[in-house]
């Protein structure tokens, strides 16, 4: 058995006990899955997005079934910052896994408000900055495709940490760009401690019989195994363009899927859509990554990338 220390992944002041986390939006605030998944066996929980004010989310239908994937247009539905701190954070506090709060907003000041408030709250290990949500009219993807804005926002958030300076700023990138390395470098220049690659791809499904889009909003974010090759390529490119760690996600359902990302250059992974089909998927991924490391004699997760020929 590989010593558990070898599975740990440290980013700035946060040490995740293992490299397999659950992706933002797919796992709520953890409590919802408590009956189905041993939360303490996870590497990290990336929470559902938190915005300063409550957001009801987008009109329904918000979901569509697609080949080897799904389309969603949730619209960052969340109870808002105050309710997150009062109702959701207490459950997450003191977990063995790391707790990374996904931060979103319409304006730069919105993001800042969330980080500034959480800076004084115990139980948060890091921030994932959502500059890549395709389902909101302002903020989200509008930020994530502009390198100058990503750099400025990242710098403001990085500078906003005062009481808990060890918490990493992880910028979550969109694949919906011509050159992901330009945005990756901008985040690094702004002081990001890590990157998450990738958020969903913009997609649309049309109901031919009804002659209308299946999603009420028209477009949504495509996730699931269908986007895995896109995500692996983005991680491969981004991890070679920056010197900060990259966390891989997009269609990971098995250990081999995760290993593709780790070989491509990621130091950790997130499981999202696969949870919906199989809640135990992240733990199966972890078992498989651990077995691979034993078999290959790899000392740390970050060394897996060195095996790529």
């Amino acid at each position: 058995m590989t010593d558990d220390r070898n599975l740990g992944v440290t980013i700035r002041g946060m040490t995740m006990p293992n490299p397999v986390g659950v992706a933002s939006g797919a796992f709520g605030y953890g409590e919802e899955y408590e009956a189905l998944v041993d939360l303490d066996a996870l590497g990290a929980i990336y929470t559902k997005a938190v915005t300063p004010e409550p957001r009801p989310g987008n009109p329904a239908p918000r979901l569509a079934d697609t080949p080897a994937g799904m389309l969603n247009s949730i619209g960052l539905a969340n109870p808002g910052l105050d309710a997150f701190v009062a109702d959701k954070l207490p459950f997450l506090r003191g977990r063995r896994c790391s707790v990374v709060v996904n931060v979103a907003g319409k304006t730069e000041d919105d993001y800042l408000r969330v980080v500034e408030r959480l800076d004084g709250e115990a139980g948060v290990d890091g921030y994932e900055i959502n500059v890549s949500c395709p389902n909101v009219a302002h903020g989200g993807l509008a930020f994530g495709t502009d390198p100058a804005q990503v750099e400025r926002l990242t710098r403001r958030l990085a500078d906003a940490r005062s009481k808990a300076p060890g918490r990493p700023i992880i910028v979550k990138l969109s694949p919906n760009v011509t050159d992901i390395t330009a945005v990756a470098k901008a985040a690094e220049a702004g002081g990001a401690d890590a990157l998450s690659c990738v958020n969903t791809l913009v997609g649309m499904v049309i109901d031919v019989k009804a002659r209308r889009t299946v999603l009420a909003m028209g477009t949504g974010g495509l996730s699931g195994p269908a986007i895995r090759p896109v995500g692996v390529a983005c991680v491969y490119k981004a991890s070679r363009a920056v010197s900060i760690p990259v966390i891989g996600l997009g269609g990971i359902a098995s250990a081999d899927d995760a290993l593709q990302y780790l070989l491509a250059g990621a130091v950790a992974v997130q499981v999202g859509t696969a949870l919906f089909s199989r809640p135990e998927a992240p733990l199966e991924v972890l078992d498989g990554v651990r077995a691979f490391m034993e078999r290959e004699g790899v000392g740390s997760v970050a060394d897996i990338r060195k095996l790529l020929r």
Binding site: A26, G28, E32, A35, L36, A68, L275, S277
Partner: protein
Amino acid sequence: MRRFDTIVTANRPVADGYRELRFAWPPDDGRRADDGREADDPAPGRFFTLRAGGRYDPALRRPFAFSDWRPSGRRPSGGEDGGAIAGEAACVFQLRGRGTAHLATLRPGDSLDVLGPLGRGFAKPPRGARPLLIAGGIGVGPMLYLAAALAADAAAGLCEAPILAVGARTAALVPVGLLPAGTAVCTDDGSAGFRGTVADWLASFDPGLPPAFYACGPAPMMAAVAAVAASRRAPYEAAVEQWMACGVGACAGCAVRLRSGDYVKACSDGPVLDGGLVDWEAMA
């Protein structure tokens, strides 16, 4: 709730394009909720999700209401909680897309991946009220189970006898073999029973007692029942249908709009909601 692998016990056509799928419900761990109910009680109105194809394609499990659940008669003597309960569960599904096409191919003995029981079920009717159960199309599934449960309650003197009305476009779409005796069948084309919609039937029906409405079906029918329930100042327990991803309240994908403009989650706030609060126009 739990995710488990079980086996199919029956899968048969019950109407044109409709099938009943039955499967073994393995014993739970005997846990009970704080209020003494079974933590994993598969009650009428609650649902489960099935993996309908490969492990990750389709990526989304398919949600189905219980159309039946019966204990296998074995209640192992466990601790003070009474031990674990095994049984057989069922749903009625309509062939609609690739998920249900896969489910239609399952045969007795095939394995089945189940997550449940999920969601909030139907409330009991008020004392002295006549339970009126209205089903439209594939909405018949949860109403069959509710009708059976309320009939048993009525036989035990716990409530008034329920009345079930089932609507369909035409006779071939009515799962006649599953309906309890005395069901009011309504068809749009008059090929069986009452000619017209269940809403039309309801408008002319006198329940004799103050009614308590229960319904599951297409949005226009649900809206019509809402109007009748409001006019009679009667409670209305409405089971909604919506696409789902997680099924456990985490993803907010199965949003249902209320008349207040707020959204609730079909999976964890429902699927049974106060039908007077739902924005049925937004569901259409």
